[in-house]
Symmetry: C2
Subunit: 359 residues, 2 copies
């Protein structure tokens, strides 16, 4: 088992990564005196709820709540189901929520933990690759609003993150691959050594070879933890984690949620952001080609579907990363180094949208 630490002063916490961690007593160390409510969904619970519950000390109160599965349910109404359960079952300030599932379960559960009695503890047990390498680390919690993704939320750090690589065995191919987009993102913005490692091991990654996955997930968590520790509330550098996401969110939104997975949209979005970096003269074209080759080797899309460029542009204007009317992009200054740029000429952006979306 590997243990990383997210250094956030009195909000610091460990991330445990390994095989068969659900069956160990690791959680017990973090649950002294807590009344536990495990929050999961109808898909994940049949697979892992029993082994998780068995690892909780029998002296602790332990209930569970199953949410409907899917991004469409990442709403205030679903978060309210968790809050209602806490109130109705008379949980107090000593309650600890455990989020067992993917990013949706983690984001909703974390937000409910942030809001119940002005903040109770929670633990992330992510069971998808996307959640393991991204969503479960860093304390971003929240739900979607009909007007946009993640518009309602809070920063609320978990007490620990428990990543059991075994849970990836049950993930379907498409979900697994979508998670790899965030892996590539971590490498592209911060660590070309890791990017090279990914290029070398695409076959093992596709085969989900455990020791490779442990290294891969750990390296992503290290990169993310380092960035989060430097800027917990995203007032600066943390925004580079949104590389590919401005375009990605617009693609997801324009296609309609459920049409493209988040990771798939981010993959195409990263290609666009990399290309935009080149068009601005920041980055050599060769990197975009390398990025495309890696994403393709991992089975990810590298172009968005045909869409109305003007519609996409309008969606991007409404994206929450727009600050005071200026659109902000995460671009690459060089391979492995991302930076925020709010100075992209409009004509250049329009041309890019036109090139990618006019099928």
């Amino acid at each position: 088992m590997e243990t990383l630490n997210v250094n956030l002063g009195d909000r610091s916490y460990p991330i445990y990564i390994g095989e068969q961690l659900l069956a160990t007593g690791l959680l017990a160390n973090h649950l002294q005196g807590s009344a536990v409510l495990v929050v999961s969904n109808e898909t994940v619970a049949p697979l892992y709820l029993d082994s998780l519950v068995q690892s909780i000390p029998s002296s602790a109160r332990c209930g569970h709540l199953l949410l409907p599965d899917g991004e469409a349910h990442k709403t205030l109404a679903t978060a309210t189901m968790v809050l209602d359960a806490l109130v109705e079952q008379r949980y107090g300030r000593d309650a600890c929520l455990i989020a067992l599932g993917g990013g949706v379960v983690g984001d909703i559960t974390g937000f409910a933990a942030a809001c119940f009695q002005r903040g109770i503890d929670f633990i992330q047990v992510p069971t998808t690759l996307l959640a393991q390498v991204d969503a479960s680390v860093g304390g971003k919690t929240g739900v979607n609003h009909v007007g946009g993704k993640n518009l309602i939320g809070a920063f609320h750090q978990p007490r620990c993150v428990l990543i059991d690589i075994e849970t990836l065995n049950s993930l379907n191919q498409r979900e697994y691959r979508a998670g790899l987009a965030e892996v590539v993102k971590h490498a592209a913005i911060r660590d070309m050594g890791f990017f090279g490692w990914l290029e070398e091991h695409t076959e093992d990654i596709d085969a989900r070879t455990h020791h490779r996955l442990i290294y891969m997930v750990r390296r992503c968590c290290e990169i993310k933890a380092e960035i989060v520790a430097a800027d917990e509330h995203e007032q600066g550098v943390r925004a580079i984690l949104n590389f590919g996401h401005t375009f990605g969110h617009a693609i997801e939104n324009a296609v309609g949620y459920g049409g493209w997975l988040h990771g798939e949209a981010v993959a195409a979005g990263m290609v666009m952001a990399s290309d935009l970096s080149s068009r601005l003269g920041l980055l050599d074209d060769a990197f975009t080609a390398r990025l495309i080759a890696l994403l393709e080797a991992l089975g990810l899309p590298v172009r968005p579907p045909p869409l109305d460029p003007e519609q996409v542009g309008a969606i991007m204007q409404g994206d929450k990363k727009v600050m005071r009317g200026r659109q902000r992009f995460v671009l690459l200054e060089q391979p492995g180094r991302a930076a925020i740029n709010d100075d992209v000429p409009e004509a250049l952006l329009d041309q890019l949208l036109d090139d990618y979306f006019r099928g």
Copy 2:
């Protein structure tokens, strides 16, 4: 004008207290680059919205939203109205909410600010005495749940608090007096010098003499700011601000919201907590008599209405201040010094409830 500072590191903020502050340009200093949404209610807006809006620099975007008035509307549904307005009117991360009104408006607005895009700025402009001496300072925000008061919320500190004493002129007698209960609370838990000052000036206080009110509100804010600075997230000493509130909440709840005002219930609750302190041998009986005399001089109730003691006891068990099954009380160790006690014998509590509620 008086200026106090709430010392919370990078979340520090000033509290301004004075006359006719709404008409000054004070707010402008805190609104550079912000898009403003003033949140108020149907009762307060006709009185003060215009002068507030006029004090906002004309270069700033400024909208407003009126909520329904009253504790019954302090719900997640009302907070969602604020969130919906922010999304629909395309406010971004640079939005700043201004809460213009009493505690309900402040709590809802602060909570919406805490949740929108994982936290935006907000400013408190409290217009009731209760909000000026208590609710607007310290960053507690939130809404009620059908299962209990303030069960959903967040700690989110305002950017500043602007207390215009003039707004108290428009408060009806009952609301004004209810606010005085929290004034007495601050004195009783922390400062017998201030308690004596209150005893001396009950007539001026009742007449709402401005210079007395400025001193009174300032002293309350000082006491609260000091306690909040020592324990922002109520993990220890901050809980003493709940003096009278365990009983008070139970009274409010048993009577039904709207029957007794919060401050009225807290007044009777403080008498009970003081009496309980005496019965435990912590405090001389004489203080309870003094407390009763002061509250009566200020026109506040000193006994709860007849209620079923068992019902009240059950409500208290469900109160969120119950930790791990033990009921916690804020008691007085001596006049002017409060402490947490979770060791009250059950029989003694039952006797107290019986004495006060069996009419």
